[in-house]
């Protein structure tokens, strides 16, 4: 196909879909855009009752975080073949 033809076919294809109302984001009612500066839920909340608990879970003494054995205990255990040996080889783990 001719160079310009490729572009024009693609663009008319896009426009046709848009006119049919299936593919055009602009066809959807624009929702209210967020106000600038609004934080994600629970984040950067430095006011109200939460701020007095900002150090919740932080011991009042300086504890060395390396004191306990560092083993990830989250959902990473669910990812098959997700753990590598020091040598870089993939360890086959039973699922």
């Amino acid at each position: 196909m001719e160079k310009n033809q490729i572009l024009s076919v693609a663009i008319s294809g896009l426009l046709a879909l848009g006119l049919a109302g299936t593919a055009n984001a602009a066809d959807n009612k624009p929702e209210m855009e967020k106000c600038f500066g609004i934080a994600k839920a629970g984040m950067n909340d430095c006011s109200g009752s939460k701020s007095s608990h900002s150090c919740a879970g932080q011991a009042s003494k300086n504890n060395d975080p390396m004191d306990f054995v560092a083993v990830p205990k989250g959902t990473c255990n669910k990812i098959a073949n997700g753990s590598l040996t020091d040598g870089g080889g993939v360890v086959k783990k039973a699922m």
Binding site: L7, I11, L14, A23, A25, C55, Q58, K78, A80
Partner: protein
């Protein structure tokens, strides 16, 4: 002035690095000793930054668990003081830190997953853009098409990884199934981060799509971008790519290039 800077610098070292204060710090709470007051300040400082990191990296936190994340965060905070008055800017260096963090070495995909999360975090706070108006595109004649330059939404980010990081990210989405099955050997991915209707979304791109989009990102006109992509990837389908990127609110405008 120098004296004030020195004092502030000593105070910062006391808080951030846990060093002994070099000068007397006035304490307005009679019940606290100076050391206790500094510890409270330090723990608040760390607690706030920990919470900022937890807000920016919810998937990493779920992947490694709360205790491990807290340890990772505290180690990171020790080496990375906050440099912006806006806490949303804090944590950009975490992916690199994770890559070199000894206790996380077994999780090879963790650093790339963090890179994707930071891209999502930035996408969330990126500037708004108008929705793409197809009528704007319709006004150009076919002989102008090669010279068209697309505007992309400021939230758009591309993250490449050898690991299936978009699947990992999607599995931890609040709407995702609790039980997921991901095989780390299922291959590399090119994650496209975009934002539509105020929600950050992650989808996968094919190699040809990513190759084309990289050129569009650098404002290469449509003709040149498409031809170079077709030379490398004869299977590249411009129409499906355009439809996908308009649908995902990645393309937000079009103009005639110089």
């Amino acid at each position: 002035m120098t004296e004030l800077i020195d004092q502030l610098s000593h105070f910062a070292q006391t808080i951030v690095q846990g060093k002994e204060p070099k000068t007397q710090i006035t304490n307005c709470y009679a019940n606290y000793s100076q050391n206790t007051a500094i510890e409270v300040y330090r723990n608040n400082y760390r607690g706030n930054l920990h919470d900022a990191l937890a807000g920016a990296y919810p998937v990493i936190k779920l992947l490694v668990g709360d205790d491990f994340f807290r340890m990772l965060a505290l180690k990171f905070i020790e080496h990375n003081p906050s440099r912006s008055a806006n806490l949303h800017h804090y944590g950009a260096e975490l992916p690199d830190f994770v890559a070199s963090f000894e206790p996380a070495q077994a999780l090879a995909y963790l650093s790339d997953t963090a890179t994707l999360e930071w891209a999502c975090h930035c996408a969330y706070f990126a500037n708004d853009a108008p929705l793409f108006n197809l009528a704007q595109l319709a006004q150009f004649a076919p002989d102008q098409h090669p010279y068209l330059v697309f505007d992309l939404h400021p939230a758009t980010r591309i993250v490449r990884s050898l690991y299936p990081i978009s699947a990992i990210w999607l599995a931890h989405h609040p709407d995702a199934e609790v039980d997921f099955q991901i095989d780390l050997n299922s291959g590399s991915c090119i994650a496209l981060v975009c934002r539509r209707f105020n929600k950050v979304e992650v989808i996968n791109l094919s190699e040809p799509e990513a190759y084309w989009l990289h050129q569009i990102l650098t404002e290469t006109p449509l003709g040149g971008s498409t031809m170079t992509t077709l030379e490398h990837y004869p299977d590249f389908n411009l129409q499906t790519t355009l439809v996908k990127l308009v649908e995902m609110n990645v393309i937000t405008g079009v103009k005639l290039g110089a």
